[in-house]
């Protein structure tokens, strides 16, 4: 019963802040609305007993959104604080597509005859996740780590204006001089 109330509260906040992301005028508010949406989903995961994953979602997403806010403000260019704006194209198409998708998904969710629950959760889910990661699913995590490394390298290659060896004054021992490239 308590779980139900908490779940519905979190669900409403989550969807409402998700909608707010595309309704508010300020980039900071949009980003942090998304952060709220993520945090509520993380808390719902706690309801499923997924302590570790729920808190990791909160941790990662707050961090991600804090960084994201910088990019939002940097790249939107013209939003000092609360400038009203509408930067959308094909709004009607988008609404239609999203609405149709929701209808299809909802129909599927309600009509499919979901199977009964099989098995029971382990006593210590965090421990069992650790065993899965270090045991039967190790290959998955090895792949993930390679992908993450490739992401770091390729993102840096894409984003850095200077080449590998032009490190902007590395020779005088001041690599962090912070001068913008001209």
């Amino acid at each position: 019963m308590v779980d139900d109330i908490v779940f519905w509260g979190l669900a409403v906040v989550s969807v409402a802040s998700g909608v707010a992301v595309f309704r508010v005028d300020s980039m900071a508010r949009a980003t942090y609305a998304l952060a709220v949406s993520f945090v509520t989903v993380g808390l719902v995961l706690l309801l499923f007993g997924l302590d570790y994953l729920g808190i990791v979602v909160v941790l990662m997403m707050v961090m991600e959104m804090a960084i994201m806010a910088i990019y939002m403000i940097m790249f939107m260019g013209m939003n000092p604080a609360l400038m009203p704006m509408s930067m959308v194209h094909g709004k009607r198409t988008a609404v239609t597509v999203a609405g149709l998708t929701f209808a299809v998904l909802a129909a599927g969710i309600l009509l499919v005859d979901w199977p009964e629950r099989r098995g029971a959760p382990a006593a210590d889910l965090t421990l069992s996740l650790g065993h899965a990661v270090m045991g039967s699913k190790m290959l998955v995590m090895i792949t993930v780590s390679a992908v993450l490394f490739a992401t770091i390298v390729s993102a840096l290659v894409l984003a850095l204006p200077r080449g590998r060896y032009d490190t902007d004054g590395a020779d005088d021992g001041d690599r962090a001089s912070g001068e913008a490239p001209s």
């Binding site: 998304l34 790249f75 988008a94 999203a98 929701f102 629950r117 382990a122 992401t151």
Partner: protein, 100 residues
């Protein structure tokens, strides 16, 4: 709190994100839409795991979704930075010539 209700909430999150990803003009806002879609996926994956088969291995799927999200964000920022630097703009409409 049943499987259906949780999945409906997840679907709602997914579709709000889908709307954003289709309609927004700025790359970073498109990314916000994608993130919201993945948010729905995380919720759905958690619900499937809990209500259908709470086996230990299922949690790994969630980890993979979270990783996918970080990868998406890092690459998105890199591309947005590159676009912004080379064109002084990051509107998706102005990058359509990249597809030609």
């Amino acid at each position: 709190m049943t499987l259906q209700t949780v999945l409906l909430v997840a679907a709602a999150l997914f579709c709000v994100g889908l709307y954003g990803a289709i309609s927004q003009q700025v790359v970073v806002m498109v990314m916000m839409g994608l993130e919201l879609m993945l948010n729905g996926v995380i919720l759905a994956a958690g619900a499937f795991w809990w209500f259908l088969s709470p086996a230990p291995d299922g949690q790994v799927l969630l980890l993979v979704v979270i990783t996918a999200m970080t990868v998406e964000m890092a690459m998105g920022f890199a591309v947005a930075t590159l676009l912004h630097r080379s064109r002084g703009s990051d509107m998706t409409d102005m990058a359509t010539d990249l597809s030609r």
